[in-house]
Amino acid sequence: MMVDNKLIIGLSGFIPVHINLLSTFINPYQPLSTLINLYKMKLNLKIWRQKNAKDNGRFETYQVVANEHMSFLEMLDVLNESLTSSQKEPVAFDHDCREGICGTCSLVINGQPHGPMGGTTTCQLHLRHFHDGQTIVIEPFRARAFPVLKDLVVDRSAFDRIIQAGGYVSIDTGQAPDGNAIPVGKDVASKSFDAAACIGCGACVAACPNSSAMLFVSAKVSHLALLPQGKIEAKKRVMDMVNQMDEEGFGMCSNITACEAECPKQISVENIARLNREFIGSSFTSTEKA
């Protein structure tokens, strides 16, 4: 199943060209690496490699020398840099903002989505939380509704389709009344915000033993259902979104709360209760028969 590719990647094999990047203006200063006492660490990586959606995929192992100041993705950058310079294909992984807000990065690191630190996305995870010689198993998010596209990259468009099913307020541009015409209590706005903070990364699905998307859907439903603007079509919204969630093939919620434990934005399962309430209530009281 594993170990067919071993590579030693060192700091020396790679020209640290941008060390001086910021120090142009002050010449007396030395390069950063000589100023900061770096704790170097050798890590064994066991990474899922899969050529495309049809490939079966397998684990491969790599060794990488990193330092504690690196972020987890920077460590993968170093690995990829080295793979590329030895004419091998780098590991594909999704990433973008690298500041924990865009929700693009994923990865299951040693059995936990976004790694061992609570309330942290993979891109915000730093190697100071790992130790020299540690073996790290890196897998893609696993769910039938999130098929693997390549290596660690998965397709999360199921989330988009759930939003398209009803996760919006149906207001056209230009129709809105004055912003202060709709007062919203400070606490209500704050609660709505807590739910709206969801970055749509899919860690809840990856963490859930049932691959359920309830935390995501409940956060989206709560965000709008709590606000007066969102109440108008709340019944239809929740029914359509749950319906789409079911169609996408996600599992069902067993209230295990692994989602809450792994959510990088610490979205509360209180939202799931609200989703249940909204869905049950709407199903029985909505006047639309269809």
């Binding site: 897998e139 696993r142 098929p147 691959s211 309430r277 869905f279 199903s283």
Partner: protein, 235 residues
Amino acid sequence: MKSWFFRFFTSSIGKKLLMALTGLFLILFLMVHLAGNLQLLYNDGGVAFNVYADFMAHNPLIQLVSKGNFAFILLHAIVGTVLWVRNRSARGSQGYAVQKTKATQTNAGFAKNMWYLGVIVFVFIIIHLLQFWAMMKFGDVGADVNLVDIDGKQVKNLYALVEVAFTNMPFVFFYVLSMAVIAFHLWHGFQSAFQTIGWNHPKYTPVVQFLGKAYSVLVPLGFAVIPIVFYLRHA
């Protein structure tokens, strides 16, 4: 076009609601059952217990509730199995090589193994029913069960059956173990049912959590104490 009612109960949340409601009913039932069972501990040679058993077997209202009870157990088991199958397939063909499941509100181990715990409980219930309830209901007098005279009324002597079972070491062991499994099942199930029906409130949820834990320890403990006491008395 299927009716909204059908679509609701076949939706993910609808099915979960069925699990929660039947679960909550069974939680209530367990409490009543325990109240009855505790009469076994009276040192009266089984009089109180046999009267209670006879009443339960013949009161029409109890009979109706009891039929509902069976239906709910079955529904709980069937829907639970449907959910389990669906949830397993939701992961896809490739599972994780390493998976650490953490939980914030419950025990992750119990929570993710509810179906397995449920299967054990279900097996226990079958054995339990065959051994006691079926004897009481359909057992041939003389062959399976004897009659006993209480205040001039001939009733089946369930107490004697219980006494035989509860003085049998392997059975006592099996019974106590099953109660432990029920405790695990309840530890997650109690509060989970409230969450599923949408009952989550910063003020009251801690109360539900506490009650759930207390219930899932005390009730199975209450059941388990009885065979232990019988066994010790006998020994």
